[in-house]
Symmetry: C2
């Protein structure tokens, strides 16, 4: 009965220090205050914000009555803080702040994908050394509980692959291009006007943000260390409305996909525009929404969908982590879910496969002169590289054009062979400009 008595004693409050009062920080404070009764009931104890560290106030968040400091490192060193919530962003000061908090024996909750993707291995080791936790649900796909699903909900599975629409800005742009016939530049300008894209949109449209999220998911799925430097990353800035239309005619959508797959040879880690069959549920995820499709050997395909960004959606994930950590404040570290998804010493999954060795299918678009023999030249190049052509469609030239757009779908081939074939097609006299190439994934 000793156990029973223990649960009846009221537990002291979990004491939270929040650093950063931007969009996510203010959302977190607002939701924590609004839903404090629900949060305490789920935790089995009150959860108090004992300090906020922020360089400036945020009108989106009323901090009256809260202890606010301009020195964020005061929060990391505050002996009355149990859990430091890092919401300042960036990787330099954030890394130092998190290390300082760990060093003073605090648990850490962070929404910082770049920090985890680039410094997670170091931070997890430091946390393990101190017997504290780092939780990072909010780092991937905003409010969707994908970290928890991969790490705990699918813990019985050998995960085969996962594919995600994990950048809302990019998905918004591609959706606008398809639905409204806008060019990439027009859709980007629209995204910027609506606040979905930054003035410098590089992180989003070139796939760096998605690559951060992908390596975090892949690390959990395959029990491998975080390997941001090994992700192949290609953005969407070269996608044209023409390709979106041709893909549509073939029954495909073009989505910016982060893909991680376990193969005999190693783990594929890649972010790039991808033709996916329209009949897949994930092909219907439009606008700024995110979704991740995970295929486990036991469970088969599962999909997780929701808002990938925004103040309160991200706060939802931050607070889920706070609840998990607050509930287990006194737990032995080995009773907690390990930050890396597996107990220490078990990150022994397969190597990351270099992109050249990846097998995938391709959509190719060639601008060819309307002369006999061009297609046989192209077919021979593919054949010489061991690439089978599954479909070849000549489209009508655009008005006033003499060049014929030719669309080719290939069967699965090694990336290195495909690159060689494309280089040879590019060099043909009868072909103008560069071959457009977009990978194709059945996701089935």
């Amino acid at each position: 009965m000793a156990k029973r008595l223990q649960t009846e004693q009221p537990r002291r409050a979990a004491r939270i220090g929040i650093c950063g009062l931007g969009t996510v920080g203010s959302g977190t404070v607002n939701v924590m205050l609004r839903n404090s009764a629900e949060i305490a009931a789920r935790c089995g104890r009150p959860v108090d914000i004992v300090q906020i560290g922020a360089r400036r106030d945020n009108p989106a968040c009323d901090t009256s009555g809260l202890n606010v400091t301009r020195e964020i490192f005061d929060v990391a060193n505050n002996p009355d803080v149990d859990i430091l919530v890092e919401l300042i962003g960036g990787t330099t000061v954030a890394r130092e702040l998190v290390l300082a908090a760990i060093d003073s024996g605090k648990h850490v909750v962070t929404a910082n994908k770049a920090l985890i993707a680039e410094h997670g291995n170091e931070l997890f080791a430091a946390a393990a050394e101190k017997g504290v936790t780092i939780a990072y649900e909010a780092a991937v796909a905003g409010g969707i509980p994908i970290i928890k699903s991969l790490r705990e909900g699918l813990a019985g599975n050998r995960i085969q692959w996962l594919a995600g629409i994990i950048n809302g800005t990019g998905n918004y742009i591609l959706t606008e291009m398809r639905d409204k016939g806008r060019s990439f530049e027009e859709a980007l300008a629209q995204a910027q006007a609506l606040g979905y894209a930054e003035a410098d949109p590089t992180f989003d449209v070139e796939g760096i943000d998605a690559a951060h999220k992908l390596v975090i998911m892949a690390s959990l799925a395959f029990a491998i260390p975080l390997a941001f430097d090994k992700v192949y990353t290609e953005g969407i800035s070269r996608i044209s409305i023409e390709d979106i239309r041709y893909a549509d005619e073939l029954g495909y959508c073009i989505k910016h996909i982060g893909l991680a797959r376990r193969t005999e040879a190693g783990v594929e880690l890649r972010v790039h525009p991808t033709l996916i069959p329209q009949r897949r549920l994930i092909a219907n995820v439009d606008g700024v929404m995110n979704a991740v499709l995970v295929n486990g050997d036991a469970v088969g395909p599962t999909l997780y969908y929701g808002a990938g960004a925004g103040a309160e959606a991200t706060a939802s994930a931050v607070i889920a982590d706070i609840v998990d950590v607050a509930r287990t404040l006194e737990a032995d570290p080995c009773q907690r879910v390990p930050a890396a998804g597996v107990a220490e010493g078990n990150q022994d999954g397969p190597r990351v496969l270099p992109m050249e060795e990846v097998l995938t299918s391709y959509y190719l678009r060639i601008s060819a002169q309307d002369k006999p023999g061009v297609m046989s030249q192209v077919a021979k190049i593919c054949s010489d590289q061991g690439i089978s052509i599954e479909a070849l469609i000549q489209h009508e030239p655009a008005e006033g054009e003499t060049l014929v757009p030719v669309v080719i779908l290939t069967s699965r081939a090694k990336e290195a062979s495909l690159r060689e074939a494309v280089a040879q097609i590019d060099a043909l006299d009868t072909v103008e400009g560069e071959v457009v190439r977009i990978r194709v994934e059945p996701l089935g």
Copy 2:
């Protein structure tokens, strides 16, 4: 450094006893044996099947080398078992088995939705008394980690509503009817031939199975006790191909939905055929697949999709629970996630609303004689009950018929008013047969 040293000591194996070797039991044993290395790495300790209790062997599962008994209660009383996994089904023996296991201090993992929905309140109390856990991820939506998502992943939210396609048999039948133009009876026979439906399909097609799952989710979402006797349940056996076509013309799909919604007046708990907009992602969940749409105040809409049944998909959820419990075998009970989602004494959510008080929109189909004045009679009846008509469409009579099918979409009205209006329309001389009525939900 004491904490650190503790994590370095190898932890003893978690000892599992499995009762039941049917579809889910054999799937669980097979996946546990196949993925034992991954499971141990995620748990931080080996997970051993020390005993299986099953009345008979199952050719789907090789138990050679395993300790199998024909007396399932031996497993509940085995002092070498830490976690009893109940996969025998039913609610009589299963309840006794689970109570016996709890009484002997074991944690319990179960896939039994009927047991939890109908006896969960009693079982959770018994488990809390003994300081042990009951985990039941596999009871709802097979392999989809929806229990974990509701209870932990969305712990920061005040959940507003959830809507699920949570019976694969029913969804298969409705999908076949829509896609192939089959009648309900034909589609049911097809589902039976494929093994998706039982010889007696009542549990599935009349919504009882979905109601079990719905009350479990609602209990977690709203912190209310399990209230199976308070769910309004309506099956799909009266859905006709005609209604599916008319719904399609209006931009809707007919799905069998389990819906739980928080309102000012109380919690709605209902399972019934529902018109939902085709543009919603959940409207595209077809065949035997399941999906649950959850709307939280912070996160907004999130969706969880996957296989709702099947040996290994369900095993995936069973093993996720085993991993959670095995990791925290030595934990103080208050450090574990509470079975009911909130700490004891906190199940103080709102009352369940009687169906008569529920507000919803309606699709009505009337077979009217082709005479002047009928529509004005119908409109007056609706108006007298405070029901606004949003659309009224007269269709062409079927060949050789003289009756005119009239489809009406109403705005939101109280169920009691709608029932009164339908009774009055049914009584009109100019209307033949009974009014067909299907609820409409925007799910937006």
